[in-house]
Subunit: 430 residues, 4 copies
């Protein structure tokens, strides 16, 4: 992933340095277990920990000749450890190292993303409660529907990212497995207890059965979950973009002083962060299909999955991690304009309450047809000429037969709409 959409914390998980460090730890832990079993000398295991090291440039140099990265690493490791290095990797296959390392990296990447979601949840929690009772118009199809509160809007995102958190937690559990089972996964040359030991040390579960490689349905599930989270990022980003439109302007991304264009065209505050997040959602989602295509490896394994993971392993996690933090910052600093929300709510002269009136009329005994006519004729006048729908209804003698002026006032009371806000908040935030 390009630096522009990367945070160093995540990038470092995918660095060559991190990768080889994990390789080293896996090999060293395996040696411990092998020594414990008496398969290799205890001194060899000790030597690996004591003298073992690696040099990335040197590994790359060797790989250019051998065209095999794990052999290059082991050769370089042997240059540090010496003679006893021949006990390293015994009974193992390259995939044991590669796949277990990928599991460690994906687990760590998950942890970072989980904390990204947590930051976002914190921001959403705070802003939702801050605006629990800030009235705003709810819109279906982009058209004014009925009133809601800005806090309720944010509560829906809080609940959604809670679900995303749980999904990522489950995907992390699925992905965090260790395979040290040798060629074609039979443990022919290595005892299963080595796998258990390495798993314990690396914070993983053992893979119950592998075909040399850790099965790729796990990875497919992982990337699919990232795609779902990215789509939720897109939903929130889209909401902000809509709210920031010139004609709506109910909220705006925070605009820093140095940002150009802010003053000669003061209205030109573009929701560029959330537009960017919309694009990044597409990037993250792009990893889903290749990951699904990676599942059906041939027989015990082919290596077609490898290039996909080399690219999308880092790219998708780095981009989503970046997106979660960018979105958190947007939400933390979001400029909210309750007065504009109210102005938009009032824009249609109270027509948004028409359904409420219709309901009240029928409850008071009007036939559905009559009620509809009363509501309609007044609504059409407001729609064409403007004015207050409430006033029109009060002045309608047919309406008066069923609803007093006071009763009508109540129907136009926003609080009617917000009577269950507490209930919903309780459901969501506890």
């Amino acid at each position: 992933m390009i630096p522009r959409y990367s945070r160093p914390e995540m990038t470092s998980i995918w660095s060559e340095q991190s990768k080889f460090q994990i390789w080293f730890e896996i090999e060293a832990h395996a040696c411990d277990a092998q020594a414990q079993l008496g398969v290799i000398p205890a001194s060899a295991a000790a030597a690996v920990w004591e003298r073992g090291s690696f040099d990335i440039d040197r590994i790359n140099e060797i790989e250019r000749e051998t065209k095999h990265d794990v052999i290059a690493f082991l050769t370089n490791l042997a240059e540090y450890v010496g003679e006893e290095a021949r006990f390293v990797h015994q009974g193992m296959t390259s995939s044991d190292v590669l796949d277990t390392t990928l599991a460690v990296q994906m687990a760590r990447a998950s942890d970072l993303m989980l904390s990204g979601i947590d930051r976002l949840l914190t921001a959403l929690d705070k802003r939702a409660k801050e605006h629990k009772h800030t009235p705003t118009i709810g819109r279906s199809h982009g058209i004014h529907a009925e009133p809601t509160t800005f806090g309720l809007k944010l509560a829906t995102f809080y609940a959604e990212f809670k679900r995303c958190r749980k999904r990522l937690q489950q995907a992390r559990e699925e992905i965090a497995t260790c395979a040290i089972s040798g060629a074609v996964g039979t443990f022919a040359h290595i005892d299963p207890s080595v796998e258990q030991h390495v798993a314990d040390k690396m914070g993983l579960q053992i893979e119950p059965v592998s075909t040399q490689v850790i099965p790729r349905d796990r990875h497919a599930m992982f990337f699919a979950v990232l795609g779902v989270i990215a789509s939720s990022v897109e939903r929130l980003a889209t909401e902000i973009r809509h709210m920031q439109r010139t004609e709506v302007r109910e909220a705006e991304e925070f605009f820093s002083a140095g940002q150009k264009g802010s003053s000669a065209m003061p209205h030109k505050r573009n929701p560029v962060l959330t537009e960017n997040l919309t694009g990044i959602a597409r990037i993250v989602r792009a990893a889903v299909t290749p990951a699904l295509e990676n599942v059906a490896l041939w027989h015990e394994r082919d290596i077609s999955h490898s290039s996909v993971e080399r690219v999308f392993g880092p790219d998708a996690t780095i981009a989503l991690d970046f997106a979660l933090h960018r979105l958190s910052a947007v939400m933390e600093n979001l400029l909210v304009y309750p007065e504009n929300m109210q102005a938009n709510l009032d824009q249609l002269g109270g027509l948004v309450h028409s359904q409420q009136v219709l309901l009240a009329l029928t409850q008071k005994g009007a036939s559905r047809e009559d009620a509809y006519k009363m509501v309609q004729r007044n609504a059409m006048q407001i729609w064409s000429d403007g004015g207050s729908y409430l006033d029109k209804l009060k002045a309608d003698s047919d309406v008066a037969t069923f609803l007093s002026s006071d009763e009508l006032e109540v129907l136009f009371d926003l609080d009617q709409h917000f009577q269950h806000v507490d209930t919903i908040f309780e459901r969501v935030f506890t």
Copy 2:
């Protein structure tokens, strides 16, 4: 989905009849709860249950005029219930009915697919145990690697579909929610207890917060899981296709007597079922991206998701359900040829044991370089001239320094490779 890839059990879940029946039940249960609250007369709720009915042709006729399906249904319902029908749907919005119905259908579809997975697991369990000790060559990159057993191969699929089962179970839980919260989800005109009642009756959980619609991240997750399962179907299908190749012929799809081409070209037994499953996997996966794109609805809802779900809701579940049963039948009836497996295993004169020999030589004290040379020169001869690798090694005096004839025999003993089969089976099947 076209009939060719449909099972009636699944198709009926998505029929107009089923849909309207669920609509009816939701409305009727909601009436009960409203009556309980005193919002509508108890007699009205009773009337809905007693006289309520619907006629699909009539509904479609009304919809052609009103261009609104829920209104068309309610109008038709009123034609059966009479005057008291005006209490039906009170305080609700169309989405309450539509989304809750979709939840019921997806939950039922999940149950069918879960039983499809169960059937497949049963077949895999049986065949895996049947062939627990059937030797076969393990292949990496399509090239002979080391021996494994056919049972072990199948065990990897058993474990994979177990994971798929768990994922689908979780996705089912996620999707099975009920929203009866009215326009923009505020419960402005309906008490939350109605939602709880309907949820209980329909076997769903309440949706903690909705924006008129049930949030589409749930559906995205659901379809993503179907995509993962389809990819696992593809992996098993691909394995069969490989095994059935003319040059491999280790297993074959069952070939029924009536099937054409079976006798004039007796070799022309094509793995058409598993090839078909490979294509169906692509079809199911095609639903994933649209479902992800459906998440970011505008504001409280737009209706762009609807067409996608009308098409892929049925299509993806029907196709996957069909695939699971087709694959189950393939596995139940799979013709397995252990003698061909053995012949393939033996094809390279024992070269597949070279790594084992290399390991043994170094363990016996040979330097890695020397061991390599001994293994190599004999291997190269077998590779070019054929013959038995074991015989060649026995006749090599350098090798004899380290390994006796008996010791060599042991290294070529397949059982060495299968010593941990029990362990793995225990991990997978218990």
Copy 3:
């Protein structure tokens, strides 16, 4: 595709009746060519045309036994033709019939979609010219930028669908090939002249080389083009959805009298057609990836592509055809509100002209810094307090040093922005 998103003209192309009719014609034409070559008796070819027929139910009945659709068809055909039917299909393989038929169907489907695009282009042409000079605000990032005309907006769509038309025309040419080359495509049992004859008769080009099947990169390209067109449909649909928002209301989908909800909530005119088109775009695009996955068939062919094409061949073309006509109707009947466009344009008191003023000041000799300050301080006042930006600038003595009141007026003249509208229209529409 479900009837809701289908037009009968397109559906009939994909009917069983059409399919078998094309099969019949291919076989009959092939017989003619074979008779011409003297391979089969002329009387046999004549008999096929004279007595040849088919019965769908009967074919399906036979297929249930043989599990092979082409054999079932030929068997049924023989029931009509009699003894001489044994000369039918000689030297051919099923794929010759199936793939050539698919080519015919896709070519016909293309023609229908091309006429759908033509209808849309006609509507866009008409509305663009009608509103060539209708001022409206151009928006970048959803924020007011500079003025444009509604006609110019539409011209961009006209140009885009012109490109789509050309792409579809090219894709149609690519897909319209005929293969009558027998098993594995070698013409071992049939002369290439038969292929040429059938191609000529069916309006196709010959496939230069096939591997039993027509190569699937052609189909992949075809579906990819449908995906691009669907995305252009989405762009226009999205524009309408935006314009119809309550706060913008510059245009609206035509609202028919019978449509419910129109009067009690007169503002509740939802852009449901264009929202629906947004969803349909997702459906059409869903076919792209499976079609790409279909390319890499194994060796001379496997049948994994078949199920994908049975589903997405009809589905993608039917859905896109439907979308093109729905979108055409939307554009033909679109309600356009120039007065609202003007009101939105004026909403910011003329701030949208600030860049024009900045440019003029520097051209008159003001330093960039000074010019910026003048523009800025007045802009900020309008932004916070409202009012007319032009009036503010006229009253600014520093500005007056460079620009007279008349010169300022000119800068606020919308016609300045529209001076090249003719040029652009000429580029686009000629």
Copy 4:
């Protein structure tokens, strides 16, 4: 794209250095045209060419403050050009520079990919002609079908990549447009002749109408074509992988001396290059859907497309360029084993000729049923007991009634199958 899958020629097109160099040229050419029009002083245009330069670090430094890359570049440019820099970029908008630059980069990337395809076509041409008459078994469904030649196999790929070349050429033409039309694309502040001048100088066509940005359906089409080409890469890679299977071994990727594992396990020559290409095909295809999602920008533009293009613009072109060259090298150096092809062909004792015999029997007057029985009973014996199908048929007295021993020989003559190889080669290679 990671270095592992990158060629420097392509990477450099996407470097910061290249990008800013193009920016510079666009601005400088625009100044020339503006000077020609008398809008800016000729000396200013000259100054830009003479003193104009840029410093990437400095640009990045400025961007960190302004958060706007084009302004940062212009500021840095002004540091070199001096006072007259204020005439640079006049009447233009950032997108004019960014989008036209992207067009130049994509056109150059196309040229590189076209030469990659040319290299591949050259290799395919050479190898196809080399093996024009090398017999090999054609396989449908992975099962032996009828004989073909290896040259014919390769001819299908040659024809396919010819089509890919044409598609890419068309996509290149579509993408190579220049927009210098100012904010919202109206040319309000710049004359269209500037656009024409810059287009000419940069080797582009003018964009007939833009909405500030070059319409993204062009880019969508471009990436879709890359996806199709990647899928053709996958088809050829898959073919090699199949041919290299241990049981098939008809061809192998060239195996360099240094590559590890080559000798101790001489059979373990893994088709890692083509497996890798299978994965890279997935990577390239991953760009298609995001590019399709980029089309529907809001109103005159939003910036959601930008991140997608920053990532997939380089990634997809670099990966595909790499793949084309890797695949070319594979084909140039492919080890082909005609003797193994022949051995596989002979594997079934001549059963692959059964259809030919069936056809000959019916042509000689046997009824279809009788012919079938004769072919069948002998085929079944070969299938179960092995031996020569030809010998069996010769010994069958019923068969002898219709076909003499000599006539049978002819039916088993491979040349029968290859009689039209010249015709097909002429179609494909001329």
